[in-house]
Subunit: 210 residues, 2 copies
C-alpha cells in the first residue's frame, strides 16, 4: 500500500521525475480508497511524505495532478500491453492471452482497474482527461477488434460476428466483472469461458477444447 520506492528518512532529496512518480502512486492509492471525491492534495503529500508546498512545486494544480494520474495509468497499461508477443498466434490464443493479461493485471495491481474506471467516468465531463483516457480505452478495445476480425477470417469465430460489437461486449464484461463486489459470484474463468462460447463458431458438439 506504501511507496514502491521508499524515501530516504533523512534530509535527502528526490529527483523531480521520481517525486512525480511517488505522487502519482499516492494519488492512485487514495482514489482507490476514497474515490475521486475523496482526493485531497494534503493527503497525497502526507502519503508521499512531503509538504503541500513541495507537492505544488512538482505538480502545479489539482487538475494537473489528475492529468498526471491519467498519464501514469496510460504508461502502466501500455507497458503491460507490450509484455507478450502477439505474433503467430491464432485468434483464440490471442483472446486467451488478453484474458490472461487482464487477470494478471487485476491480481497484481488491482487498483489499476479501479482508477481506470474512475477516470473514464471523469473523462466524460473533463476534456483534458478524456484526451488521455479515450485513446487508452480505444486502444484496448481495438486489440479485441483485431482479434475478432482475425478469428472470423480464420473461421474459428462465428461468421456473423461483428468485431466492433464483440469487442465492446468483451471490454464491457471485463470491466463490469471487476465491479463485482456483489453477491454475484461468477468466477473469472466462467466469465471468459462464456465469452469464448459466445464468439467461437459452434461446431457440431464434438469436444474440441484443449
Amino acid at each position: 500500500m506504501q511507496h514502491d520506492t521508499p524515501i530516504p528518512p533523512s534530509g535527502k532529496r528526490e529527483s523531480g521525475d521520481c517525486r512525480r512518480l511517488n505522487i502519482a502512486a499516492a494519488a492512485r492509492a487514495i482514489i482507490v480508497e476514497r474515490g475521486l471525491e475523496g482526493l485531497r492534495t494534503r493527503d497525497i503529500a502526507a502519503r508521499v511524505g512531503i509538504n503541500i508546498a513541495t507537492l505544488h512545486y512538482h505538480v502545479p494544480s489539482k487538475e494537473a495532478l489528475i492529468t498526471l494520474v491519467a498519464d501514469s495509468l496510460r504508461h502502466d497499461f501500455q507497458a503491460q500491453a507490450l509484455r507478450n508477443s502477439r505474433d503467430g498466434k491464432t485468434a483464440l490464443e490471442l483472446l486467451r492471452l488478453e484474458f490472461a493479461d487482464f487477470r494478471e493485471t487485476v491480481h497484481e495491481t488491482p487498483e489499476l482497474i479501479i482508477v481506470l474506471t474512475a477516470l473514464i467516468e471523469k473523462a466524460r465531463r473533463d476534456p483534458a482527461i478524456g484526451a488521455i483516457m479515450t485513446p487508452l480505452y480505444d486502444f484496448w478495445r481495438a486489440q479485441f477488434v483485431e482479434i475478432f476480425r482475425q478469428g472470423v477470417a480464420e473461421g474459428s469465430f462465428r461468421a456473423n460476428l461483428d468485431p466492433a460489437s464483440a469487442a465492446l461486449i468483451t471490454t464491457g464484461a471485463l470491466t463490469d466483472y471487476w465491479r463485482q463486489w456483489t453477491s454475484f459470484r461468477a468466477s473469472f474463468d466462467n466469465l471468459t469461458q462464456e465469452l469464448e462460447h459466445a464468439f467461437i463458431a459452434q461446431t457440431i458438439p464434438s469436444k474440441d477444447q484443449n
Copy 2:
C-alpha cells in the same frame, strides 16, 4: 434537465415529500454534470430554489442526501422494471424486452445510468450506499439470469450457456456501452444484435428464429 414538478414562483410552500423529490432530482442533475466529486449542497439548494438551511431541514446531512439519491434511483428503476408484463413470453422476447427497456430508460431519463454507475462506484467504499445499490444491481442482473435460464430450458439459447456469466456479460456490455457512447445511435442495435447471436443456439439443427 429541470424539475418535473415546477415550483410555484411566489412564496408558496412545498410539502416535505415533494421537496425531497425536488432535492433528489437536483442532486442527480448535478452528479451528471460534475460527478460525485462536484456535488455541493449549496448548488443543490440553488437548483431547487431554496436556502441551504431549508435543504438541511429536509435532508439532515450530505451523507443522507446521497442515500436519498440512491433511494430515488431504486424507486425509478423498480418502477421501470414493472411497466411491462413478463408473462407468457419466450426467453428471446424477454431479452429483447430488456434491451428495449434499457434503450427507453436511456432515452427518457439518460441521467439514470450515469448516476447509477457513479453510485455503484461509490458503493464499493460506502456500505450505506452499497446496501441500497447492491440489491438494485443484483436485481437487474437476476432478471437476465432468469431469462437465460429459461432460454436454455426452452432450447432457444445455447445448451452450454451459463446464465450467471451471460447475465454479467449482458449488464456489463449495456452499462459500459452507455458510459462511453452518450450519443445513442444505431450501434446500440448492433450491440444487442451481437448479444443475441452470442447466446442464441446457432444451429445446424434447424432454423428456429421467429
